[in-house]
Symmetry: C2
Subunit: 254 residues, 2 copies
C-alpha cells in the first residue's frame, strides 16, 4: 500500500495504491483523481503534473498513468493538449449519461419514485418488434406496461418488450425497483443503447393516465438496448409529461 502526494504546486493530492487489490491500478488512480476533482481539491483549470513525473511519483509506468488519464478524458473530466499538459476542465460538466432507467435517475435525484404495473405478460410480437428484437414474427416476448410516478404525480407511461427467459420479472419486483436494476441483477450486461427522442401531442387515453389535457406536449423516447454480444435485450417506447421531465445528454468528442 503506497501513498504519494501528487501535483506539486497547486494542491496536495494524495493517492493510495493497493497492489494486492483486484481493482486495476489505473482505475485506482483514475477514481482518486476524479474524487479529488469532485471534492474541489483539483480546481477547474488546474494542471496535473506531467505523465512521466506522475508515473515516477506513484511508482507506476507511464502507460498505466496514461490509461488512468485517458479514462478521465473519456468521461469528460480532464483535457489533454500535446506540448502543454493535462488540465481539469473548466465548465462543471455533468456526468455522462449512463445506461440507467428512469427509476434510477429519479432516485438519485432524491425523488420518491413509484410504479404501477398495468400489464406484464407474454404476447406474440408483430413484425416490427420481431425485427427489432431479432425474433421470428409470431413468437412470444414479454410485454410490459407501467405507469411511473414521482412525488405522487404521474410522470411517464412506459411500454417495454423483452425476449422471454431473460430474467424472472415479477410485478412486485417491478413496483419496487427499476427494470435496468432488475436486469443487471439477473446477469444481463447491457452495453449499447440506441435512443430516438421526439415529441408529440397526448392522445385521450394517455392524457387520462398521465393527468394531462388531451393535446398536451409529451416527450417520447424509443430505445433499444443491446447486451455484450449485441443481442437486443430490451425495447422500450415511452412517453413523458414534458411539463415535468426532460432528458440530459452529454456528448464527448474523442
Amino acid at each position: 500500500m503506497t501513498c504519494v502526494n501528487l501535483i506539486g504546486m497547486t494542491a496536495n493530492l494524495a493517492i493510495d495504491l493497493d497492489r494486492s487489490s483486484p481493482v486495476p491500478l489505473y482505475f485506482q488512480v483514475a477514481e482518486q483523481i476524479a474524487e479529488a476533482i469532485r471534492r474541489g481539491d483539483l480546481a477547474p483549470g488546474a494542471r496535473l503534473d506531467n505523465e512521466i513525473l506522475l508515473a515516477d511519483k506513484l511508482g507506476l509506468s507511464r502507460p498505466t498513468i496514461r490509461q488512468a488519464i485517458q479514462y478521465l478524458v473519456d468521461k469528460g473530466l480532464l483535457v489533454r493538449k500535446r506540448g502543454v499538459g493535462t488540465q481539469v476542465v473548466h465548465g462543471q460538466v455533468k456526468r455522462s449519461v449512463e445506461l440507467t432507467s428512469l427509476y434510477d435517475d429519479l432516485r438519485r435525484a432524491g425523488q420518491e419514485p413509484a410504479t404501477r404495473v398495468i400489464a406484464l405478460e407474454p404476447r406474440s410480437v408483430d413484425e416490427e418488434i420481431a425485427a427489432i428484437l431479432g425474433l421470428e414474427p409470431g413468437t412470444e416476448a414479454l410485454y410490459l406496461e407501467r405507469l411511473r410516478y414521482a412525488a405522487g404525480e404521474p410522470l411517464a407511461l412506459l411500454h417495454n418488450w423483452l425476449p422471454l427467459g431473460l430474467a424472472r420479472l415479477g410485478a412486485t419486483d417491478l413496483e419496487t425497483r427499476g427494470l435496468y436494476e432488475l436486469l443487471r441483477g439477473a446477469g444481463v450486461r447491457m452495453r449499447v443503447a440506441n435512443q430516438r427522442i421526439g415529441a408529440r401531442a397526448a392522445g385521450q387515453s394517455e392524457a387520462r393516465l398521465l393527468g394531462e389535457r388531451r393535446g398536451a406536449p409529451l416527450l417520447t423516447m424509443i430505445r433499444t438496448t443491446y447486451d455484450d454480444q449485441g443481442r437486443a435485450v430490451e425495447h422500450g417506447s415511452h412517453v413523458y409529461r414534458a411539463s415535468h421531465y426532460s432528458l440530459e445528454v452529454t456528448l464527448i468528442e474523442r
Copy 2:
C-alpha cells in the same frame, strides 16, 4: 506499404498500412476494419482473429492493435469478451452522435437545408447567459437567431449565444454552412457538449415562424458546448417541429 489479409476463415479482409503516412497506424487499422463492417465484409457476429495473431499478420505490436480495437469498441462497432474474443456487434448500431450541428446532420441525410438569419448582433448578456458562458453580466456576446428549413419546409428555430471574438461570422456564411462547421473552420475545437432535451407547446410567434398551429408540440434542446480547455464556446436554445424531426442518441457503456 504493407497489405495483409485478415480474419482467417470467415472473410477476406485486406488491410493496407502506410508507415510513411502521418495518420497513426492504429487509426489506419481501425478505419479499415470499420469500413469492412460497413461494407458487410465483416458480418455482425463475425469473430476477429485474436489480437496477437492480428498483430503478427500486420507486423504491428499488440498494443497498437489493441488501440485500434479499443477505438472501435468505444464507437460501439465491436465487442470484446475476455477469454472469448472480439466480435462485430449484432444489432446494426448507428453511429454515435457526434458534435455536429443540425445543418450537418441534415445534409448527411441527403436533405437540402436552408437557413434564414433573423438576428446576428452583439447583445449584452443577462445573468443566466453570463454564468453559462463564463462572462461578467452586462458584457456583450454575439446573439444569433436563425430559422432552419429542410426540403422547403421550416423545421427549427435556433437561438445561440457565443463569446465575442471567437470567429468572424457573416450572415452569408451562416446561410450556406452550419454553425459548427464555421466554428471548426475558425480553429475552435469543440470537445464536450451538455444537452437538455424536452418538449413544450408552441407559442404564437414560434408557431407562425414554423408553420405550425399554436399549441403544437415542439421538441426543445438547450445545449452548451465547451472547447479543448473547457471554456464555453456556444450556448444554444433551439425548438424543433416535433412532427418533422426527432433526435437520435447512442449510449455506450464502457
